[in-house]
């Protein structure tokens, strides 16, 4: 998806409900109010002392206005939100690679005090999707949600705008695993440099998939931002069969890196799809490694979470 069509699709949501209305699991109640006040350091007695509330002109205990959103919050689940609790407008961004999310600001307006017994319903409405912004966290779009809060008789009791930034995370570079002793691994396996152009390739490997860029059926490796033939900045990603032929090879003797076994064969494989790839060979006597030998890809976890392709002789 291009960034333009992403934005157009996201903006189709503006003015529409981002999700189903959520009704509070519990009515407004004094125990929850008391806990919240303790946690927040709130000492105003009108929130937990009947007589203090009446002295202040209320019919009885009232809930702190800032608790507006508390009543309809989704349940806490260790595994995160369910699909129903997610918002399709935000999912669009996730699918386009804007996987990062951070709440940036919120604003609440109150129509009346909530009192014990009120049953609150909130409805999120997509208010705005910004143009692309370049932030310190990464490139992204601000999505503003407007929550309408109503009581059991459908009267509005408050409103909240809540803004999140959906962003493409700045590319975190893989770090070497710590040793069992807890210190930094003195001889980590050499790491790739991950850029916007090749992140899909290395992500594919971490999922044990060998992926190549493809434009109009032309495959290419190593990855680059532009298809050299058409000039297109768009590309598809296709998974390789992993089958190929050794096009050339070397056997490394020097220099020797910790963690590698020498003599170390390194092969240049021409895959069935026509692209070439450099990798090591698994479980092979270096003498068996020859130009023209058929090979198949496998994947090796050289360090926890760090997966590289390797070939086996067919």
């Amino acid at each position: 998806m291009t960034d333009d069509s992403l934005l157009a699709q996201a903006r189709e949501w503006v003015g529409r409900a981002a999700n189903q209305p959520a009704t509070a699991r519990d009515p407004v109640n004094v125990p929850m109010i008391r806990r919240w006040c303790e946690a927040m350091g709130e000492t105003n007695a009108i929130y937990f002392d009947e007589s203090a509330a009446q002295a202040a002109g209320h019919p009885g205990i009232v809930a702190p206005p800032a608790m507006l959103e508390v009543w309809t919050m989704a349940p806490y689940r260790p595994g995160g939100r369910t699909a129903e609790e997610g918002m399709a407008v935000l999912n669009l961004f996730d699918e386009a690679g804007y996987t990062g999310v951070v709440a940036t600001n919120t604003r609440q307006e109150y129509d009346r005090y909530l009192v014990p017994g009120d049953v609150i319903t909130s409805t999120p409405i997509v208010d705005d999707v910004s143009d692309e912004k370049r932030t310190a966290l990464g490139i992204g779009h601000f999505v503003t949600l407007r929550y309408e809060f109503t009581d059991a008789s459908d009267e509005r009791v408050g409103r909240m705008t809540f803004r999140v930034l959906k962003f493409k995370p700045n590319l975190a570079q893989p770090k070497a695993e710590a040793t069992e002793e807890g210190g930094e691994n003195k001889f980590p396996h050499p790491r790739p440099a991950i850029t916007h152009d090749n992140a899909f390739y290395w992500e594919g490997l971490s999922n044990r998939k060998l992926l190549f860029q493809s434009t109009d059926g032309r495959l290419r490796h190593p990855p680059g931002p532009m298809d050299p033939v058409s000039g297109s900045l768009e590309f598809d990603v296709v998974e390789s069969s992993g089958r190929g032929t050794i096009h050339s090879f070397v056997v490394m003797h020097q220099p020797r890196l910790p963690g590698f076994e020498y003599p170390l064969p390194v092969v240049l494989v021409e895959l069935e799809e026509g692209v070439r790839l450099v990798a090591n060979v698994l479980d092979a006597d270096p003498k068996e490694v020859e130009i023209g030998r058929k090979v198949e890809v496998d994947f090796v976890e050289v360090e926890p979470g760090y997966i590289l392709p390797a070939f086996r002789l067919s």
């Binding site: 440099a193 991950i194 050339s248 070397v250 240049l268």
Partner: protein
């Protein structure tokens, strides 16, 4: 076509430090020593220098060099990328600057404690922030393919497979260079020739490359002074006219790992340089008297012989077997000993040898006054020169 650059500029001074494994002094000092020597050779005052050119991997900033040599007005400075592949490119830059009147005296330099401080052969270390260059190395280094020798060996293996060239054919390059170095008092391997048997018995670095297929690692500096052909007539030394200068990158070029072009056994970038050099100078392979062919690793000397038309594609092995690279052969190469025998000064010392062949002062002088070919690093974006007498 006769290019307008041809014949406009000349190399009028060469100067070098000693070539060693540990210079014991700063690279900047090596640079200014070599430059001073080269200017004295040319008979040009330091104050007259108004242009400087070098290539990446040299660590000496132009302005530091310029301040130290007492320069007054620096009007032209450039630094060409890709290390040894750029070796001839500063001369091209200098010639262009001189030909267009941008500068009058341009000094090209390369000064490095490559052996005592860096050792390219010890492997690639990525920079802290990822970019397109460090991303490139990510396709090789995690598999242990991390040294220049290993990157060249991959292409060499395929070359052997397709052409029938053997390790001994590579060895013949090394033997010729060491034989030439043996006559050169400035060469690290002065009076230390090798035999083909010694080449074959030397340990593996990266199969199919033996130790003696790999150039040295050296400390040292080389400087080259370029000015106009007109002014060159009035100077101390017989000028080496720059008859052609060219750069080349082509055919899905990568930095040392052009493994994705259809034919990885050819140096398409050197094919491009050869075509331009011959056209500019108006000469052909048969006219070339001697050559300094970049010899960081022996296999690419064979490929260069093919790129320049000294042998048909895949047949350089016959040319080499006939002894043509040695003194008395059809094309004596690297008469200073090359980087295998003299020193690894990133090809800049090879240019100086080309100048000596034009002047008639090489320790292994090749008779005649025909044009001299000089090439730069192979497997990378590259460059080349054809030099000749006035």
């Amino acid at each position: 076509m006769s290019g307008t650059l041809s014949g406009k500029a000349a190399i009028v001074g060469i100067g070098a430090t000693e070539f060693s494994k540990n210079s014991g002094r700063s690279e900047l000092r090596l640079a200014v020593e070599a430059i001073t020597t080269a200017l004295e050779d040319a008979g040009i005052d330091r104050e007259e220098v108004d242009g400087l050119s070098t290539f990446t991997m040299d660590n000496n900033p132009e302005i530091e060099v310029f301040r130290n040599i007492g320069g007054k007005s620096l009007k032209f400075f450039s630094r060409v990328h890709y290390g040894g592949g750029a070796a001839c490119a500063p001369i091209m830059q200098a010639a262009m600057a001189v030909a267009t009147g941008v500068a009058e005296v341009v000094v090209c330099y390369r000064a490095m404690n490559e052996r005592s401080q860096y050792r390219f052969g010890s492997g690639y270390t990525p920079p802290p922030v990822p970019n397109a260059e460090s991303a490139h190395y990510g396709y090789y280094v995690p598999f242990g393919l991390l040294s220049p020798a290993s990157w060249v060996a991959m292409a060499a293996q395929r070359y052997m497979y397709e052409s029938g060239a053997t390790s001994e054919d590579f060895g013949r390059v090394s033997v010729a260079c060491r034989r030439h170095a043996a006559n050169n008092p400035n060469a690290w391997f002065y009076e230390q020739p090798i035999t083909l048997e010694e080449h074959q018995q030397s340990r593996w670095i990266v199969e199919p490359l033996h130790l003696l297929d790999c150039c040295q690692e050296s400390d040292g500096a080389q400087a080259i002074v370029v000015t106009s052909a007109e002014r060159a007539k009035k100077l101390r030394q017989p000028p080496a006219i720059i008859r052609a200068a060219a750069q080349g990158a082509a055919d899905d070029q990568q930095m040392m790992t052009s493994y994705y072009r259809e034919d990885i056994t050819r140096l398409s970038e050197m094919d491009l340089v050869a075509e331009q050099l011959y056209a500019q100078a108006g000469v052909k392979a048969a006219d070339i008297r001697t050559a300094t062919l970049y010899d960081h690793f022996t296999p690419y000397v064979l490929t260069q012989l093919e790129a320049f038309g000294f042998a048909p594609k895949g047949q350089a092995k016959e040319f080499v077997r006939e002894g043509n690279l040695e003194i008395g052969g059809r094309l004596p190469v690297n008469t200073n000993g090359g980087q295998l025998g003299e020193a690894y000064i990133h090809g800049m010392n090879g240019i100086a040898e080309g100048v000596r062949q034009v002047r008639g002062t090489s320790v292994n002088q090749v008779p005649g006054d025909g044009p001299v070919l000089v090439t730069a690093g192979t497997g990378v974006p590259t460059s080349g020169l054809i030099l000749g007498p006035a």
